[in-house]
C-alpha cells in the first residue's frame, strides 16, 4: 500500500512521456491524495511540544 503513490507517479510520468497530459495530471492528483491518506495513517503520535 505504501508503494502506491510511487506507482501512480510512475504511471503519470509514463503518460506524460507518451504525450497524455490530462492522464498524467490525473495520476498526479491520485498520487497526492493517496500520499495524504497514508500520512494520516502514519502521523498518529502527539507532538512532544510543551506549548
Amino acid at each position: 500500500m505504501m508503494s502506491l503513490p510511487f506507482l501512480l507517479f510512475a504511471c503519470g510520468l509514463a503518460a506524460a512521456w507518451t504525450s497524455r497530459r490530462e492522464a498524467a495530471m490525473g495520476f498526479w492528483v491520485a498520487g497526492v491524495l493517496v500520499l495524504l491518506v497514508l500520512f494520516r495513517f502514519h502521523a498518529t503520535d502527539v507532538l512532544n511540544l510543551g506549548l
Partner: protein
C-alpha cells in the same frame, strides 16, 4: 526569461531533485539506514514536486505545472515539518544518520522550501510561456535524461517500499526488509 533558459533551469532543478532521491537510496543501501514510513512519504513528496518540473520539460513551461511542483513540495514539506517537530525538543532523540549536522528530514524540509521558492520565482517570467520552434539538441538531452531518471527512481521506490513494508502499512521503526523476513518465515513454515 526565454523559453530556452526556462527549460535549462527546469532541467537543472529536476536534476537536483533526482540527486536528492538518489542520495536517499545511497543512504539506505550503502549506509544501511532504512527509511521510516514518513521518510518514505517524503521521498514521494519529492517525486510529486519533481513531477511538475518534468511536465514543464515535456510539454513546455506552464503555470499549472509550476502549481503542481509547489503543491507537491508543500505536501512533502508538511511531512518533513511534522518529523522535525517530533524531534525538535532537546532530549527527544532523532531518526537516522545526520549529514553535515542536520538529519535527512531537516534537509528535506529545506529542499521542499527551495522548490516552493524556486517555482514561485520562475512563475514571474511571462516570456517563457510564448510558443517556440524546435529545441536545440543540448536542450533536449539533459531534460529528457532528468525525466527518465525521475521515472526510474519512482519505479525503484515501488520495489524498495514493497521490500521494506510488504503490501500493507510500514512498521513505525523498520527492522529490516520485511519482504525477506516474510519469505523466510514462509520457507521455515513449509520445512517444519
Amino acid at each position: 526569461m526565454t523559453a530556452d533558459l526556462s527549460r535549462l533551469l527546469n532541467a537543472l532543478g529536476l536534476v537536483a531533485v533526482d540527486t536528492v532521491l538518489v542520495l536517499a537510496f545511497v543512504d539506505q543501501l550503502w549506509f544501511r539506514d532504512l527509511p521510516c514510513p514518513i521518510c518514505i512519504l517524503q521521498r514521494a513528496g519529492f517525486i510529486a514536486a519533481g513531477f511538475g518540473i518534468a511536465l514543464n520539460l515535456i510539454f513546455g513551461p506552464r503555470p499549472s505545472h509550476y502549481g503542481l511542483a509547489i503543491l507537491g513540495a508543500m505536501v512533502g514539506g508538511i511531512m518533513s515539518a511534522d518529523q522535525v517537530l517530533h524531534y525538535v525538543v532537546p532530549g527527544t532523540g532523532s531518526y537516522g544518520n545526520a549529514i553535515f549536522g542536520l538529519h535527512l528530514y531537516t534537509w528535506a524540509l529545506i529542499g521542499f522550501a527551495l522548490i516552493v521558492v524556486g517555482s514561485a520565482v520562475m512563475l514571474l517570467f511571462d516570456r517563457q510561456y510564448e510558443p517556440t520552434g524546435p529545441l536545440p539538441l543540448r536542450l533536449t538531452v539533459l531534460p529528457l535524461t532528468a525525466v527518465a531518471l525521475l521515472a526510474l527512481i519512482a519505479v525503484a521506490n515501488v520495489m524498495s517500499t514493497l521490500a521494506i513494508c510488504g503490501f500493507g502499512l510500514c512498521p513505525e521503526t523498520p527492522g529490516g526488509y520485511l519482504i525477506f523476513n516474510e519469505n523466510l518465515r514462509l520457507a521455515v513454515g513449509k520445512i517444519s
